[in-house]
């Protein structure tokens, strides 16, 4: 019976969501139980329902839970940000890190960190400013080429490289110890506390809810601009709203976890491949699916990264880079570029 259930489940978006959630719970259980201090399912259960002073409960609630939650929220935020970027630019290769938002935000945050001693709430604001500036420059550069897909990504990559080099320059020119910042720049959720979660979670959840209102406009934005205008769509307003949400989601994530690249690129693609063909551009489903895929990607990557104590950002590049190459090949083969 089960064998006949799974294909039927996978054919409908709700079934897919169910399967995705199951995987998410599974990866959550794994990342809570695996580590230097192994925990059994029973121990996890008792620590979850009745937090006590025991070591197991401390490990779960103070060490592993914030990390897990951050990984999931960051993944969901980045996945949705990627889906929105792809919808607005009508470019399947776009993602927040490839149009320069992440590294722009990172540069601005490092600037604030180095030259001022403001609290971490302001880092997020600085990230928004930096991210918007970097994205505007990228869009402006490829505007004349009508946002030609390859041109947009190349310009974005250039801006990213530039920001990264400028960040290195900044980090080296201050004489204080910057090793912690260096790890942050690789994108990591290690050693985070509830304080970090409380920084990211409200902003991310609020923006994700706002994104839900954009689902219909985003679906319409897939049409030709002239067509949208003729049916009374407000192309410009929708685009600006959507991009603003992308910048907020990305900058909030970057300010807490550092730039985690390629999740925004890969998550929407996985989601679109899994969704039934006629729903692959229905943004109600794409947004939810991207959030789920993003959360899964980052939490599983973090599970693997945790094994060797390397930052999760590195693993994301390792699977994201080849997928970018693969997507480029596919798009060229289809003649889409």
């Amino acid at each position: 019976m089960v064998s006949s259930m799974i294909p039927r489940l996978a054919a409908s978006p709700f079934g897919l969501a169910l399967i995705g959630t199951c995987f998410l719970v599974l990866s959550a259980l794994l990342s809570v139980s695996i580590g230097d201090y192994q925990l059994s399912l029973l121990e996890i259960w008792s620590a979850l329902i009745s937090p006590s002073e025991s070591l197991a409960s401390f490990v779960i609630w103070e060490l592993r839970m914030p990390r897990l939650l951050l990984a999931m929220i960051a993944g969901a935020a980045l996945g949705v940000a990627g889906a929105i970027t792809q919808a607005v630019t009508q470019n399947e290769l776009a993602s927040p890190s490839l149009v320069g938002v992440s590294s722009g935000a990172a540069l601005a945050i490092v600037l604030v960190l180095v030259f001022t001693n403001l609290s971490s709430h302001y880092h997020f604001v600085a990230g928004i400013v930096g991210g918007s500036v970097a994205m505007s420059i990228t869009l402006w550069l490829s505007w004349k080429q009508k946002l030609d897909p390859v041109n947009l990504i190349l310009s974005g990559l250039c801006i990213s490289l530039f920001c990264a080099a400028a960040t290195t320059l900044l980090l080296i020119s201050v004489s204080t110890d910057t090793r912690g910042l260096f790890y942050w720049l690789l994108g990591s959720v290690a050693n985070r506390t509830w304080q970090h979660v409380s920084l990211l979670a409200p902003i991310a959840l609020l923006s994700l809810i706002l994104c839900a209102f954009l689902a219909r406009p985003l679906t319409i934005l897939q049409l030709d601009t002239e067509v949208i205008k003729s049916i009374g769509g407000q192309v410009k307003r929708w685009r600006i709203q959507a991009l603003a949400l992308t910048v907020i989601l990305t900058s909030a994530t970057v300010s807490v976890t550092g730039p985690i690249a390629f999740v925004g690129l890969v998550a929407p693609h996985i989601c679109r491949t899994l969704l039934p063909k006629h729903l692959a551009y229905e943004y109600r489903f794409v947004l939810c699916g991207s959030a789920l895929c993003g959360a899964l990607l980052v939490s599983i990557s973090d599970l693997l990264a945790n094994y060797q104590e390397i930052p999760v950002g590195i693993l994301c590049v390792l699977f994201g880079g080849p997928s970018l190459v693969w997507l480029i090949q596919k798009q060229y083969k289809q003649g889409a570029l």
Binding site: Q145, D148, L154, F162, A165, A166, S173, I314
Partner: protein
């Protein structure tokens, strides 16, 4: 790409402005060289430099600074500049793609990964098998290992863009994606197994000339001779390879063989330089572009021999200037030279991408 190869009569008619350009570049280079010897966290007067240069036996701190620190470093900057500039020029001519550059085609990333892996494996084997805690790695092998890594990475990038006839933008995109993956692998290796090499590896990865001495210069020089000599031997073939492959065939050239040979020499130049100084990004992109603009402005036709000579001089000048800037801007600290060249190179890359569309 539509460079007109100047005929011989053109060249002789415009010989004098060209030699003027060469002489002025050379004077600039020599001037910068002396500036590099004088400037630094301990400024030296030109007389002191001159005296220390003439007496090779170290007697005082000034001549020590000069012979131990500044002279090898500045000479190395010049040599490395020539390496990267020539590599960029050859790549652009052979692939017929103005966006080609060792750092974009993955040479630097591949070379870095090969070197880091090799050092880590060597350390591990030495510790486990021979029980030696201090590393006795023979650095002579580094350029060859870098060459291996660089060749593999470049081959991968070229293979990925082969079907689209190495279309410039796609090639750059593939190269940057592969570069990101290689970089992540390098970071992984360093962070997971780096041990006490972590710090030095990170500095080396940013591309720096800090603390280089004559031994590293001597390590690189054979490769320089092979590379530069190879370039001049290849000149005739390269100017034909700039044409499209059908035309090159008609002129009776074995396109495939000479393409591969030239690519190999370019990769060898870039990888060996990477082995010594770490990746100096975008020098190979900036210098040929700059040289072409310079030759065009002076009304000289762009012929490959001219371009090559100008590139060598301009590459040396650029890296030397970047090195001076990197150790004087925030002295006594240092900015990695590679970061500076990257910051300079990206605007030019953007300009070139713009021109593509």
């Amino acid at each position: 790409m539509n460079q007109v190869i100047a005929t011989r009569s053109d060249i002789t008619a415009k010989a004098w402005p060209f030699y003027g350009l060469l002489i002025s570049l050379f004077v600039l280079l020599v001037g910068l060289f002396f500036a590099a010897l004088c400037l630094g966290s301990v400024p030296l007067s030109i007389q002191a430099v001159w005296q220390a240069l003439l007496s090779s036996t170290p007697q005082n701190s000034e001549s020590n600074i000069l012979w131990q620190l500044r002279l090898p470093r500045s000479l190395l900057a010049i040599v490395v500049g020539v390496h990267f500039a020539l590599a960029g020029l050859i790549l652009q001519a052979v692939i017929r793609n103005p966006l080609a550059d060792p750092s974009i085609l993955g040479v630097n990333g591949g070379a870095s990964l090969a070197i880091v892996l090799c050092l880590l494996v060597f350390d591990y084997v030495q510790l486990q098998v021979f029980n030696l805690s201090d590393s006795r790695f023979n650095f002579v092998w580094l350029p060859a290992i870098a060459l291996l890594g660089g060749t593999l990475a470049t081959a991968l990038v070229l293979k990925l863009s082969w079907r689209q006839q190495l279309q410039p933008n796609q090639l750059a995109l593939n190269g940057v994606a592969i570069g990101a993956v290689l970089n992540a692998l390098v970071m992984w290796a360093i962070l997971a197994w780096g041990g006490n090499r972590t710090e030095t590896s990170l500095i080396w990865l940013a591309g720096s000339l800090y603390g280089r001495d004559f031994s590293q210069l001597l390590l690189l020089l054979p490769w320089t001779f092979i590379g530069v000599f190879g370039c001049f031997l290849l000149l005739k073939h390269l100017s034909i390879l700039q044409l499209d492959s059908d035309a090159a065939h008609t002129l009776g050239l074995n396109v495939k063989r000479w393409r591969l040979t030239s690519l190999f020499i370019a990769v060898a130049l870039a990888a060996s330089a990477t082995a010594v100084t770490g990746p100096l990004g975008f020098v190979g992109l900036i210098v040929p572009h700059f040289a072409k603009v310079l030759l065009n402005r002076l009304g000289l036709g762009i012929s490959l021999p001219h371009l090559m000579v100008v590139c060598m001089l301009a590459g040396a000048t650029l890296t030397l200037a970047a090195d001076i800037a990197s150790r004087t801007l925030i002295s006594p600290l240092e900015i990695p030279t590679g970061t500076l060249t990257t910051l300079m190179g990206i605007p030019i890359l953007l300009l070139l991408i713009r021109r593509q569309s």
